[in-house]
């Protein structure tokens, strides 16, 4: 067929249109059988998939619910979230629609359709462009050559595909699903398969921002989360800086030994440290309370994380424990920076008569700050979402009567955990997740805009 010379000059949109109707038809008109078969296979595959998973020969009236296949039923499920609730009938419980499974399937079919649409557009453009090139006098191209070229050019996509498939199904799909849940009434009062879930628009957002108890909890938890993130980043940075500078002092004996000791809190798994501190600060049996009573500093045992009248005590202790956990990383980081400051800087300063404190203030601090400051924003973000320390240490306690499902030390992320897992308020939880994303995303984008990585992209 490659030798067959085209007599008539077919306008380019014709094969394109043909491919739009029946994938690969345009390629066949262009006399590229291999390519035509390639695209046609996708076309047939999609149809066969739909028909094989559907119920098209039932002979009754067609409804997407009972007859639709993977794509039709999927889209139907996504828009309606089911129409048939589970009911008690004479033969027992009828099988109702499970809204959440319908939603998940709908999303998957929507994503699959989006991928297929790319192939579809590709086949249309390929048919039209090839025709246009041939009309302009280009040599015919064999399908095999085309695929070989494609293979070489597509190396990047092929190499990326395993990672991307994983990301699409394990991250993108769940994120989309989570966003959808924020617009439904999916919560403990409305659990499938017993009940149907419905689309409710922005009702959940309205709840969080208009119902005073929800708004109060949200603002209270948000404020404490910001305090927590700022104070814990600042204290860890300051303490890490202090320890690093002291360790870099030439008078220190065995600096590597000290350094290894100070690194222990960073090296010990966080969950273990947090649970250990939780036990040490246990009000009833913990050694800290006991010791305070024994020494005579307090008359009674202190209930660090459970005394509702002392929320700030719990917060302060949590911040101190967090300092213990997080200063070593900054110490190690800043220690590395310090070894790279040339001695000549300090010598020059000494010659100008600068004392040790002046050297610290005008040489060490600026150099360290310049290198470490990009990391501070990221440290802030990771503190903002520090689930482990708070959940394992205080579980959000002490209780706060004014809050909905949150304690006085709860961060947004731990509150979210309680909302979704313990209280099954999935819809409100999804709204909260989106709010956290907006806050964290704004900070990260602002930070990234200043960094070189994006500009070099």
């Amino acid at each position: 067929m490659r030798t067959a010379q085209q007599g008539s000059r077919l306008p380019a949109p014709v094969p394109g249109l043909a491919s739009a109707l029946v994938w690969g038809a345009g390629q066949l008109i262009n006399r590229q059988a291999g390519k035509a078969a390639f695209f046609f296979a996708f076309f047939v595959g999609t149809l066969v998939w739909e028909i094989a998973t559907g119920n098209y020969y039932a002979g009754m009236e067609f409804t997407p619910r009972s007859n639709g296949g993977f794509f039709v039923k999927g889209l139907w499920g996504l828009t309606t979230l089911g129409t048939q609730p589970r009911e008690m009938t004479v033969t027992g419980l009828s099988e109702g629609d499970n809204s959440i499974i319908l939603m998940a399937n709908g999303l998957i079919s929507l994503l699959t359709l989006a991928l297929l649409a790319i192939v579809w557009i590709w086949s249309i453009r390929d048919a039209a462009r090839y025709r246009a090139a041939r009309n302009a006098g280009a040599e015919p191209e064999r399908s095999r050559e085309y695929f070989k070229k494609l293979w070489d050019g597509a190396f990047a996509y092929i190499a990326l595909s395993p990672g991307l498939v994983l990301i699409v199904f394990m991250s993108v799909l769940p994120v989309l699903f989570g966003i959808l849940v924020a617009f439904t009434d999916y919560n403990r009062d409305n659990l499938p398969p017993k009940n149907l879930v419905n689309w409710v628009g922005f009702e959940n957002f309205a709840t969080v921002f208009a119902v005073p108890s929800w708004t109060g909890t949200f603002l209270g938890v948000l404020a404490w989360t910001f305090v927590w993130a700022i104070v814990s980043t600042a204290t860890a940075y300051a303490a890490g800086f202090l320890q690093a500078v002291l360790l870099a002092n030439k008078k220190v004996k065995f600096p590597r030994l000290w350094r290894s000791v100070f690194l222990l809190p960073w090296a010990v798994p966080g969950i273990v440290s947090a649970l250990v501190f939780r036990s040490m600060f246990n009000g009833q049996f913990g050694p800290v309370s006991q010791w305070l009573v024994d020494v005579g500093i307090t008359d009674e045992r202190v209930y660090w994380f459970t005394d509702a009248s002392q929320p700030n005590l719990a917060r302060a202790v949590a911040l101190l424990v967090n300092l213990w956990l997080s200063f070593p990383f900054f110490m190690a980081l800043i220690g590395g920076v310090l070894t790279n400051i040339p001695d000549s800087y300090y010598e020059a300063a000494r010659m100008d008569g600068a004392g040790p404190l002046q050297q610290l203030r005008h040489i060490t601090l600026p150099v360290v700050h310049k290198t470490v400051s990009p990391l501070l924003i990221l440290a802030f973000v990771s503190a903002f979402n520090n689930f482990g320390t708070i959940y394992f240490l205080t579980q959000g306690g002490p209780d706060n009567a004014d809050y909905r499902f949150a304690g006085s030390t709860d961060l947004l992320i731990t509150w979210l955990f309680k909302l979704t897992l313990d209280n099954r308020l999935y819809n409100i939880g999804a709204v909260m997740s989106m709010l956290i994303f907006v806050i964290v995303g704004t900070i990260s984008v602002w930070n990234l805009n200043r960094s070189k990585a994006i500009r070099e992209l």
Binding site: L160, I271, V272, L275, S279, G336, T389, F437, A453
Partner: protein
């Protein structure tokens, strides 16, 4: 929990810290006093750092079962809690489960992120910039939003209660971040070696395996260690995705032990915590240089 400090900026290959020559000079009286103060401060901090750790180790050897029995230096030490862990609880099973997830997570993460990072760094293709920005945005989502959804999806596909499924989710959750790390690191590797090999007729995968991969070793080590340790401490995902008793991980098991107040098993918890912490701590201390440079990869370039 661990400092997931993000090197989103380009990573520089770790530089050997140039050891500064320590100059000996005669110490004056004032210097001696300053030295004493510094050592005093170091000592106080060291005590604060070590005491909780010593307390938990002591507790694991203390006789009795409750929290009140725990002492930093038990007088009549016993190893019965360690024995109990393996005879009375499923600790051995949890440990193997965690080990399985950790190994899978490490291998999968390293392989996928190295390949993807290299492609994003060295090959210019359509959609590259969009892809990089997309995964950057993706990693800002709290894992939480995805976790619930992953739970529903797994329920749907029958993947629930599977350790392999958990490992796959963990790999995917950290992948965007790790791809950025690998990409940043590869950006700083000289491209001339690749080009020379390409001129000699080496295929792209050969170049990746033989030339780029060995040069990426420090970053590979970093990703391998972090991804190996994450499943040992991860709580949210396993809590959601694993249900049956024989599929629990160490973190879940330990948390249940301490959560259940009536069980009164604090000393056993302590023993379990020590067994979990010791290998990871040793790993971190030994490989600290890789870990700190890797985690701060962005700091040098700013």
């Amino acid at each position: 929990m661990s400092d997931k400090l993000g090197p989103l900026t380009a990573a520089a290959p770790p530089r050997e810290a140039a050891a500064r020559p320590r100059r000996r000079r005669r110490l004056s009286g004032r210097d001696k006093l300053a030295g004493a103060f510094i050592h005093l401060e170091l000592l106080v901090v060291a005590v604060i750092v070590i005491f909780p750790l010593m307390w938990i180790v002591g507790a694991s050897f203390s006789p009795g079962t409750g929290l009140a029995n725990a002492t930093p230096i038990p007088t009549d030490a016993t190893v019965e809690h360690y024995v109990d862990l393996f005879t009375q609880t499923d600790y051995g099973r949890w440990y193997l489960n965690s080990l399985y997830v950790a190994t899978l997570n490490m291998v999968g993460s390293v392989a996928l992120s190295a390949l993807c990072g290299w492609v994003f760094s060295r090959i210019r293709f359509r959609g590259r910039k969009a892809g990089l920005l997309g995964i950057l945005i993706l990693q800002m989502f709290p894992t939480f939003l995805t976790a619930i959804a992953v739970y529903m999806l797994f329920l749907n596909f029958g993947l629930l209660d599977s350790l392999t499924g958990l490992a796959l989710v963990s790999i995917a959750a950290a992948l965007p971040y790790n791809i950025w790390l690998m990409k940043g690191y590869t950006d700083n590797l000289p491209a001339s070696l690749d080009e020379a090999a390409a001129i000699d007729g080496a295929g792209r995968l050969t170049i990746f395996r033989r030339i780029v991969l060995p040069l990426m070793r420090p970053m590979l080590t970093f990703v391998a260690i972090t991804q190996f340790t994450v499943p040992w401490m991860d709580f949210i995902l396993p809590r959601l995705l694993l249900q049956s008793a024989d599929k629990q991980t160490v973190a879940l098991g330990l948390f249940q032990m301490i959560e259940d107040q009536y069980q009164n098993a604090f000393t056993s918890f302590a023993a379990g915590a020590v067994l979990l912490a010791v290998p990871i701590t040793i790993l971190y201390i030994l490989l600290q240089r890789y870990l700190v440079t890797g985690a701060s990869a962005g700091a040098e370039k700013g």
